[in-house]
Symmetry: C2
Subunit: 206 residues, 2 copies
Amino acid sequence: MTEHTENDSPVRGRRRDVGRDRVLLEATLEVLYEKGYGGLTTAEVAKRAGVSTATLYRRWSSKQDLVIGTATQWARDLGRGEDTGTLDGDLTALLRDKARTLDGPGGRLLHVLIGEAAHNPALARVLDDAVVQPVRDRAAALVARAVERGDIPPLEDTHVLADLVVGAMVSRVFLTPGPSSPSPTGEAMVRELRPFLLRALGARPA
Amino acid sequence: MTEHTENDSPVRGRRRDVGRDRVLLEATLEVLYEKGYGGLTTAEVAKRAGVSTATLYRRWSSKQDLVIGTATQWARDLGRGEDTGTLDGDLTALLRDKARTLDGPGGRLLHVLIGEAAHNPALARVLDDAVVQPVRDRAAALVARAVERGDIPPLEDTHVLADLVVGAMVSRVFLTPGPSSPSPTGEAMVRELRPFLLRALGARPA
């Protein structure tokens, strides 16, 4: 491993850019979590990432662009979800994948962005596209497979499952914890939610 | 109606203070929604409320104190919930009351505060105490009555219903809406969530 130094020569190529993108992403998450969106400055992010602000601005044209880019890169983490052959298997996999994206830096990012989205329509769109829509698509697909197999009757609304999955996790991770009530681990959340959601979908008791 | 003027004479008494508190609360909500927590200044709130910053600081010692006070005043809105005699009645009343607190200024306040709470433990505690705990208490009480009546079997966890109610609404109101998907009205949310939650609680189909 060689030390990173400030050098923008194009011959360094893509490998070096990916490394710098990752360092900028992590610095952005760190500053967002400590200071919120309002307290974040591109100068602070550049400093922590060990790059010049000129370098940062070559990649991201503004603070909002930097934060949206960070959110979009992170949100690629949620998998598409294989067909496990059972409703329980598909639902548990969705809950596990979602719990994993909410644990750690991605969850902290989402936490900060939800608040900022209240008065920032561009961020609100990113949150919808990057965070809720993938869960909605995956939930609709697993429900359709379960109905097709005859495991459950058709549902009144196909999007309610996504709201229940995302919402319950957001509620547990972002609203419930305080100094006296540590955030539950992802696996504990999955275990708690699973029987409620299976019943909500109309699955017969095991 | 007389015009409000700047006058801090103590002989004006409680009635006048309540009016001023309400004006400050509304100004705080307005500025929070437009500019976020990071962009809010006590000077701007005082200006919109038509009071001096000295007046504001006599009531609230800091920006954080002002915002926490606003959140706490607003959160008193959620009712305690009467015993309607049925699980469906109790649940529908809880959903309606909660939807009402998330509609309008209170919901905008919560939206901004969720993000700020990510790096502000005092606000995180207020959100837990003022927003989630009342729903948790009311959900636990309605579940206990339903189990007592023999309407549903005992549940694995009593707090999951509160997470599902708060979470699904937060997800619909704060995460889903964008320019192309307007936030559903409270009554539409209640109607959509009701059958899923009744099944999740183990209620027999009507």
